[in-house]
Symmetry: C2
């Protein structure tokens, strides 16, 4: 049963959803401390600390909560709040381990539409993602994997985009399976426009959700932010096809940060649409060739096989680009600048600067033309002596 | 300069080359202890220990040495003996670490033909191998890789077969690069017959060699035995395409046993000709997509990055199938019966019995539906606690 919320509480959540660009850890902290109604009141009146004020002052006088909720009701949608039974508590708990960093953090509240429950999905789901510029091979594989997954009661989560995302959603729908589209804008803004009908079908038979209130248009940084939710609600992120710079690689990086399994489908080495997958595979992603492989990986979700903890304190003084690059270094072994670019979602030319900073701060080290996380000297010496 | 051998020494080597099916560690030990001439004399007269007698009695009265050497001379070929400058001493030293097991061990002597020197090759070579049933994709990739390798002065070693092997040899030749065919029969027995012209070209511009004396016909076990030499003289074994049961997977297993880098080229998951490659990649093979990747791997050869030592003593009481299966278990993590079959070269149905024996002797353990090398209980407990 979904909890029935008091109207004032709903309005408070709707107001809070728009007042700061998500995720906003300061706003989340306030809501957790005083509840949504009081939090909304304080924000509206400007009675918040300086940092939260900076994040909310531009929009604090905008209150479209009533209209937003009416639009949601007209579409037969619902708010999913942290108090709701449907809130995927365990899935979002993964953000706790990822630390309070920019763009990291659970959503405040979700705008949702569709008969499938998010808490059910998060129990057993795989993200099937990839490039919009998919090849016929990639679309075929995405469809085969999605069909196989829903046959085995694994929900297919994706981003609703052209190419791989669309092929996965469509195949899941045509098998009467659960599929979930996570949007990077308002629930009333179908994006891409050419997928309006597909998104409508997903909202009737599966689930569409977003952390953005109605009317918000997708933007590049919102796609990257949205990707963390695609990764969070799925046990494994499977990249079917991706170029060397691809949003799908960003979803994979989120999955790794959140302790999810990252998997990739190999393809012809002659196809640039598989180059990102091959880079991921080199970087430790699981190689999957069929739905059964993924089912096995999703089955491991409960184990929360988070990577070895990294020295979080040393990272405190770093900027966001350095953190992104650091996160993109493999837990074991060394990797190339190109592979770091893929994993971090940064262009290769923007990776070198942060690497240099990580090197001088002793967090990363060169290994020939490759880069690795810097280890204690003794461990490195032991490793070297084994190779000689 | 190749050492000029005394005729009686040559005849002794030629006689010894035929008298036991190679590799015969007992015969090698005798030769090392008393030299080839005395060893040949003792074998001929039956003055050897029981075990060596068993290996030599069937053929000890056959002496075709003079005729074999004349045939070799007519072809412009040569014997490469352990005393020769051309003997790839470092490459064959890898057999020392692999232990005195059936079918393991360096060759006694090699029959060779071609202007390329084996010691030069072994300094910087990659084995490019794969299925005879190659697809156009696989043949194209094999040719591209071989061309890229020889351009970077890396010799291309292969087995002269149809499919991937042939594509690699041909591309290397057409770039005027060094290519080496290792035969599973006599140097005068071109196999497959359809590759007579190709093998002739290799023997004129590259190198053809074999441990079998003239007239010996290839047989299934000789291909498997030959594969160890393909692996031994190359720094890395690259499998371009291979089905789930393939001789190429056997070459890869040899490469791993000998501490060589194992690499595989990914391909479409819809192609059964890439299924063996994907299994190898899951099992820890390096993913390569272009010649530069391989050059980098071959460059690491000098490091002799042999895997962690395994408890050799516990294996002493085991049969050959159990050893093969044990060797096929990954150094780290667990694997499936199908993947063990690929890595061991045994049919899946012949893997289960040996696995059961390895389990009861405490050498392997189940991990769900997978199998792993059994570790000390404390290490296992630590690992489990990390996952929970």
């Amino acid at each position: 049963m979904t909890t029935i919320l008091d109207e004032s509480v709903c309005r408070a959540w709707a107001y809070l959803s728009r007042v700061a660009e998500p995720p906003c850890p300061q706003l989340a902290a306030l809501v957790q401390s005083v509840g949504p109604v009081e939090a909304a009141d304080r924000v509206r009146r400007g009675l918040v600390n300086d940092e939260l004020a900076r994040h909310t002052e531009a929009r604090r006088e905008i209150d479209r909560a009533a209209a937003d909720l009416e639009l949601l009701a007209q579409r037969g949608g619902r708010l999913i709040t942290p108090d709701s039974d449907e809130w995927p508590l365990l899935a979002f708990a993964a953000f706790d381990g990822a630390g309070a960093r920019p763009r990291v953090g659970p959503p405040l509240v979700l705008w949702a539409q569709g008969p499938v429950r998010l808490d059910d999905v998060a129990q057993r789901a795989a993200a099937v993602v990839g490039t919009r510029a998919a090849t016929p091979y990639g679309e075929q594989v995405a469809a085969d994997l999605a069909a196989g997954l829903v046959e085995r009661d694994v929900a297919v989560v994706s981003g609703g985009a052209y190419g791989i995302d669309g092929a996965a959603h469509r195949a899941a729908l045509s098998c009467d399976g659960s599929t979930v589209a996570v949007l990077a804008g308002g629930i009333d803004i179908p994006y891409p426009a050419g997928h309006s009908a597909l998104l409508h079908r997903i909202s009737r038979h599966g689930l569409v959700f977003t952390e953005y209130p109605p009317g918000v248009r997708p933007a590049r940084y919102r796609f990257l932010t949205r990707n963390r939710l695609v990764a969070a609600v799925a046990g494994a992120a499977v990249v079917v096809e991706a170029g060397l710079r691809s949003g799908a690689a960003n979803t994979a990086a989120w999955a790794r940060t959140l302790g999810r399994v990252v998997a990739a489908v190999p393809g012809p080495v002659t196809s640039s649409a598989s180059a990102g997958c091959h880079a991921l595979l080199r970087n430790g992603a699981e190689l999957v060739t069929r739905a059964d492989d993924i089912v096995e990986l999703v089955g491991r979700v409960g184990e929360f096989a988070v990577e070895e903890p990294r020295p979080a304190t040393a990272l405190d003084g770093l900027g966001e680009a350095e953190r992104q690059v650091y996160e993109a270094l493999p837990g074991r072994g060394a990797t190339t600048v190109d592979e770091i670019a893929v994993a971090s979602g940064l262009a290769a030319e923007h990776v070198l600067g942060p690497l240099a900073i990580l090197e001088v701060t002793g967090l990363a080290e060169r290994d020939g033309g490759r880069w690795r996380i810097a280890r204690a000297r003794s461990a490195r010496a032991a490793q070297t002596s084994r190779l000689v």
